[in-house]
């Protein structure tokens, strides 16, 4: 009797009907950022007494692995070139790439390495896909300094269909994320007393990523 129960459990778990944290999505899914799915963008906001300004980079690249069986164990790496960051003021952009600021010559990329997901909350799960929120925990590297960082995430995972195939092969993913970085933490000190007057002490990042599970 006991053996039968164990066998029944194994059959249920191994049958195609079992569902994971991501509903019908199973196993590890490698999601690569793709412009055909959507333009990934990292917007950054600086609030200082003299001027509030916004800029962005639209040259994000990277991939991450969503582990549907254990979402907490999702990993990945997203980066963008410092020189792709624009603010609408070319002189300010040039300063931003310089040695006193982000030092693009020696540290050409800003990176976020995802180590795990926490506080996962499934918002919606049906035949079309899954939506969930989570906290991404990992290491943020700016100017060659890597510091632990946490980012709030909202993920929309859309299962492949005739409609999605018109845009890209595979399942499509959109991620909304925001977090802030303190410039001092990454040894971005600027010249004189610019930080705090012309540039905010911390920069708010609002990131939107688009990718698909096809490679």
């Amino acid at each position: 009797m006991k053996a039968l129960l164990i066998l029944a459990c194994i059959l249920i778990i191994s049958s195609p009907a079992y569902s994971t944290q991501l509903g019908n999505v199973k196993g590890k899914k490698i999601v690569t950022l793709q412009n055909s799915v959507g333009t990934s963008i990292a917007k950054f906001n600086s609030n200082s007494p003299l001027e509030k300004f916004e800029g962005n980079s639209q040259a994000l690249q990277g991939s991450f692995t969503l582990n549907a069986d254990n979402l907490e164990q999702s990993i990945g790496k997203i980066s963008f070139p410092v020189r792709s960051m624009k603010t609408g003021l070319s002189k300010r952009d040039d300063h931003m790439y310089g040695k006193d600021w982000l030092d693009a010559q020696n540290y050409p990329n800003i990176e976020f390495e995802l180590k795990k997901l926490s506080s996962i909350s499934i918002k919606k799960s049906d035949n079309s896909g899954v939506e969930f929120s989570a906290i991404a925990e990992g290491m943020c590297s700016v100017k060659g300094i890597a510091k632990p960082a946490k980012a709030k995430l909202f993920v929309k995972y859309v299962l492949e269909s005739d409609i999605t195939r018109k845009r890209a092969q595979g399942n499509l993913v959109m991620i909304d994320s925001d977090f802030s970085v303190s410039l001092k933490d990454y040894n971005v000190l600027g010249r004189g007393d610019i930080i705090g007057s012309k540039v905010g002490e911390s920069i708010d990042l609002d990131i939107k990523l688009f990718g698909s599970t096809s490679n």
């Binding site: 959507g38 333009t39 963008i41 003299l50 001027e51 916004e54 962005n56 639209q58 624009k86 609408g88 003021l89 070319s90 002189k91 300010r92 929309k156 859309v158 409609i163 999605t164 845009r167 499509l172 959109m174 939107k208």
Partner: protein, 101 residues
């Protein structure tokens, strides 16, 4: 008309014109050379609004210059010059009136 009076009128016109441009350019603190064009598009697959952003070349006059090497690219610098000219011209007009017999 007195030359100094013409300089005063011209300087005032310059200040007013630059101020109108500055107001039209949304009271920018620093002069900008690009504007971000934002288009909102409905994304049917993800069921949300997506922003399409692109930088387009567009000069916007700011109160302060975009580059300290080019101070004239601002409202403040030419306005200060014009105010100085108006005051100097006023001084000259006053001197001329006092020296008249």
């Amino acid at each position: 008309m007195n030359l100094w009076r013409i300089i005063q009128i011209f300087s005032t016109i310059v200040i007013v014109t630059l101020s109108i441009f500055w107001i039209m350019d949304d009271f920018q603190v620093f002069t900008k050379d690009k504007t971000e064009k934002i288009t909102i598009v409905k994304d049917e697959i993800f069921g949300t609004d997506i922003e399409k952003r692109e930088w387009i070349e567009n000069f916007q006059l700011g109160l302060l210059p975009d580059d300290p090497v080019h101070p004239y690219r601002s409202l403040a610098f030419p306005s200060l010059i014009c105010i100085a000219l108006i005051l100097f011209a006023q001084n000259r007009i006053h001197s001329q009136e006092n020296t008249r017999p």
